[in-house]
Symmetry: C2
Subunit: 358 residues, 2 copies
């Protein structure tokens, strides 16, 4: 099967007996063409099954109609919901999206960035690992619009659309503390990732405000995969003085934790509380239904995609830093701990803080 190329604008022009310019203009509806010649051109187009080349067009116009998004892993439920939404928005604005899974490894991220530069994408949505790189700086220098999605690189002066991670986790941990938990395991991703950093900060702040000493052994800092979350949870459960509840820093950790708990023969919430990060249908359908801090995925994705597109269109300037609120959803997976301590009376400072976040 020989690679059968399609006809070009020149072929259409010849068949219709007009110039290439005229063909271009009828195809793109970019200047008036008399009805008669227009019809001739259209006939030639269908006869030859003319398929205009976006790549030739792109070389001339310097735009490719494609954007890219780099994400840690499309298998993450939060990420794929977001990508789904971004793809839809991009599509309605005439953009395709190239998807790049970095697995949170810097070399992969940089390699993708190089390729994307060569491909001359119109814009980039990036959930970065957290460090800049020559390719990243090159992209900036070329003036390709970039927006940080969900995560950001410290010190890069670029638009950001993110979530109040610290606030969300803070509220969740406060809830667990109110329920009598004192030893709370915390599953976190690498600190180089801004979200992991922020979530950890929320955890620490809640503990400090309640005067609960932090036990470093309760904080597991591992790669953001369910396997790692499972192993880390197993280690927590095997401690001589194990936690009575576990906060899982993302949905991958949450399944991992649940798996480890099942392996250990424990039942949630009677023997161990679980609080997840990220809401989704499996969390709701779980038995018991999972308490969770919910990110506004669609708002986040929509805001980021629309911002990028308006940047590409030159419609908006780039001094945007949006922080969307996270919401705590209390369900059945984190009932009060058995040997329940008397609930701490809320301090005045804490009450104010919580009120301020609403």
């Amino acid at each position: 099967m020989a690679k059968q190329v399609s006809y070009t604008i020149k072929d259409v022009a010849r068949l219709a007996g007009v110039s290439q310019a005229t063909v271009s203009h009828v195809v793109n509806q970019t200047r008036f063409v008399s009805e008669e010649t227009r019809h001739r051109v259209q006939a030639a187009v269908v006869e030859l099954q003319y398929q205009p080349s976006a790549i030739a067009r792109g070389l001339k116009t310097k735009s490719t109609g494609t954007i890219a998004i780099t994400v840690p892993n499309i298998t993450n439920l939060f990420i794929n919901a977001a990508v789904r939404c971004i793809e839809e928005i991009a599509n309605t604005h005439g953009f395709n999206v190239i998807i790049c899974n970095t697995d949170d490894v810097l070399a992969k991220e940089e390699h993708y960035l190089e390729v994307l530069i060569a491909k001359r994408i119109d814009g980039l949505l990036i959930a970065p690992i957290g460090k800049t790189s020559p390719a990243f700086e090159a992209m900036r220098a070329m003036g390709i619009p970039i927006v940080f999605f969900d995560r950001y690189i410290e010190g890069s002066d670029l638009p950001i659309v993110e979530v109040d991670n610290a606030g969300g986790v803070y509220q969740a941990i406060c809830h667990l503390i109110q329920d009598g938990h004192r030893r709370i395991g915390f599953l976190s991703g690498p600190l180089i990732v801004s979200t992991s950093n922020q979530r950890t900060a929320g955890y620490l702040r809640a503990l400090h405000e309640h005067g609960i000493p932090v036990d470093p052994l309760l904080i597991k800092r591992v790669a953001s995969t369910s396997d790692a979350g499972c192993r880390a949870t197993a280690e927590l459960l095997a401690m001589p003085d194990p936690p009575t509840a576990i906060f899982a820093g993302n949905n991958l950790f949450t399944v991992g934790a649940l798996l480890a708990i099942k392996d250990a023969g424990l039942v949630c919430p009677d023997q161990i509380g679980v609080f997840g990060f990220d809401d989704h249908e499996w969390a709701q359908a779980y038995v018991p239904p999972l308490s969770v801090v919910r990110q506004p995925v669609y708002e986040l994705a929509t805001a980021a995609a629309e911002l990028l597109i308006s940047l590409i269109r030159g419609t908006e300037n780039s001094n945007v830093h949006r922080i969307l609120p996270a919401e705590v959803v209390i369900r059945g997976s984190c009932a009060p701990h058995h040997d329940v301590l008397p609930p701490l009376p809320r301090t005045i400072g804490e009450r104010e803080t919580i009120a301020a976040r609403r």
Copy 2:
């Protein structure tokens, strides 16, 4: 911030005092260049931060280094696991992947195909809805390599990599029947989709072979979303003579069914059995762990991606039709029905059939 273009090969050539051809050859390592001029060129490249344009290159070489995959919805756990795998393989072979969510609507699929033709992708992986279209035929006519992934279009003579859907469902339904279930609800996607068709066939065959009359009211044919699966399950549960078990035809239906069961205040498996399609960690972590027919996602994705790439490279011919086996995984969500009928003795015909599938 003015759109600051990058330098071109011409600039580099001038700075290095050589021809464009030489620059091209050192950048691409495509012919010998003396050490001295090579160094001069390399110095010019870094000084100007030269970023070769893949789109100009593509215009000349007629290849873009990008493939596309159209899928119903990247939010589906089976799909995103597959896409993840495909993206990884494509990447190691130097291809980027454009992702297209069709939502199983023909107009979206066709629109994407048109755009992808214009973009001159090097190849297409398609999980088609099930009908051909002018754009699809145009793509074929242009000789762009296409492979059907997971689903196919009836009558299109193109390579296919799919799963033995009918066989998998058949085994699952047989298992439920052995466990005493006689009224088995079946959640299916639209019949235009080849996999829905095959899975329904497996269900029907199992019933027929056991002499169980099929009640059409037990078969729900709805869009492949968790919402639709939830509603359909609610309807099944509200029947005067409701099913004692439900087979969910994909992972979206499975969560949907679980949600409806929870809404109805029923507990699985004591009051209703659930058998899912697609295996994943949430199915394993669920309480009870879900019985499921497992698709070999990675094998499927790998086979499809590698086939497409070898087609692009002209390495392989296109008469491939691979059918990978599906596997039944029995866990806790489909215990024997309460008012248990005596297990049917297996018929000889059935024994043979099952043996033949191994």
